[in-house]
Symmetry: C2
Subunit: 212 residues, 2 copies
DNA sequence: AGAGTATTGAACAACAATGTTCAATACTTT
DNA sequence: AAAGTATTGAACATTGTTGTTCAATACTCT
């Protein structure tokens, strides 16, 4: 019984699943180190003992929840990109996936916004595939910004997306508007010409594919 | 002795000043609700009793530190803008003030980055003056984005600045590079033409004026 | 030097959260 | 229906934090 707990959703028993769901919401609302076992149990609709049966500490739980979220989102986006090769189009879609999901799953969104900067596990969501796509876009002359700006461009894009998610979570904008406008602004910053930036940012957004 | 504590720096006795400085750093490092009185006392180089002499709770302290930071930065930027009327130039300067300061005062930067999204007091740093400057820029036809995008543009700009500050804090970029590149990208997104965006973003950055 | 004020550091009770244990109960599975 | 497994909820000692008190000490004015 000393082995590390499994991270994949499939390997989770029902109680653990409920605990993870409750944890996502509590962490998002109160902060990473602010969740105690009793309230977690209550939020998950589970006895305090069950928490201790299933996990060792809330700190570890946080890591698990974060890296699970990362893996899941990464896979789903990757799957959706099977059909899309244009880097600019990928960018426009990826940006809006995040913003729409913040609307559809606000707890997910709040969690992501709160910890995206500070949690290593979440970081790869934009230092991984997005960075490659930006490079590809440069290689294919799709973008015009100087190559030395790549890291800053990546930061700008991810920061913009996070801020747009906040806008949506707080009800100031619809996901559609914030999503398309953000995509358009970013594409313009990268050097895509105005008309095309606008067109790309309004392409119909497919559903985020399920995994398995 | 029941009156609320004064917020202005001038009205702070030396011990309180040290406590605030230590608090900034601890909050930035560990999170808002994670700082306990004993470690705060130790970090401030002060006895635990002194903490209780000077303040009522660390929660209140957090609010004080945040709103003080906001007020101070706001005043200093406002003072610097006395001489600058062009909205685009103001934007280019304002953006780089934040990014440079993250380099010069990393604890300040970490605090700001960590709480800028979630803390109301800090929010006005970009929903206040920057919003007005953006509107002015539109009215003066300095920018070309549609007026309905104003809120999203504001989000994009602030999110980009935060992300650039992270880049600098982690040593991936110099403040100069991250600052100018971020300003350039944002100006391009707003519709400033490439050459001018570049020029504006490399204008010499004056020192952040002192207050009083 | 002397009055007024703030800091110090130790002590204390009250509380909240932790980590463990365990017998009773509930649920799967075959 | 019986065996195997997980959940339940209560109990408990332990720890860390809080908020308060206070006499001794240090600091700052005029």
């Amino acid at each position: 019984m000393e082995a590390a707990k499994e991270l994949s959703k499939e390997a989770m028993n029902p109680a653990l699943k409920r605990i993870h769901r409750a944890a996502l919401s509590l962490f998002a609302e109160k902060g990473a180190g602010q969740v105690n076992v009793s309230e977690l149990a209550q939020a998950a609709g589970v006895a305090r003992g069950t928490i201790y049966n299933n996990l060792n500490s809330t700190d570890l739980l946080f890591e698990q929840v974060a890296s699970q979220l990362e893996a899941e989102m990464h896979q789903r986006i990757a799957k959706s990109f099977d059909l899309v090769t244009d880097p600019a189009q990928r960018l426009s879609i990826g940006i809006r996936f995040f913003i729409r999901r913040a609307h559809e799953e606000p707890e997910w969104g709040r969690f992501f916004v709160r910890f995206a900067f500070s949690t290593l596990a979440l970081r790869s969501l934009w230092t991984g595939q997005p960075a490659l796509d930006l490079k590809n876009g440069l290689d294919q002359q799709r973008y015009t910004f100087p190559r030395e700006q790549l890291a800053t461009v990546l930061a700008m894009a991810s920061g913009s997306v996070l801020a747009a998610m906040v806008l949506v979570l707080e009800g100031h904008k619809t996901w559609r508007e914030a999503g398309s406008d953000t995509a358009e602004l970013i594409l313009k910053a990268l050097g895509i010409e105005n008309a095309e930036a606008r067109a790309l940012s309004r392409l119909e957004l497919p559903p985020l594919p399920a995994i398995d």
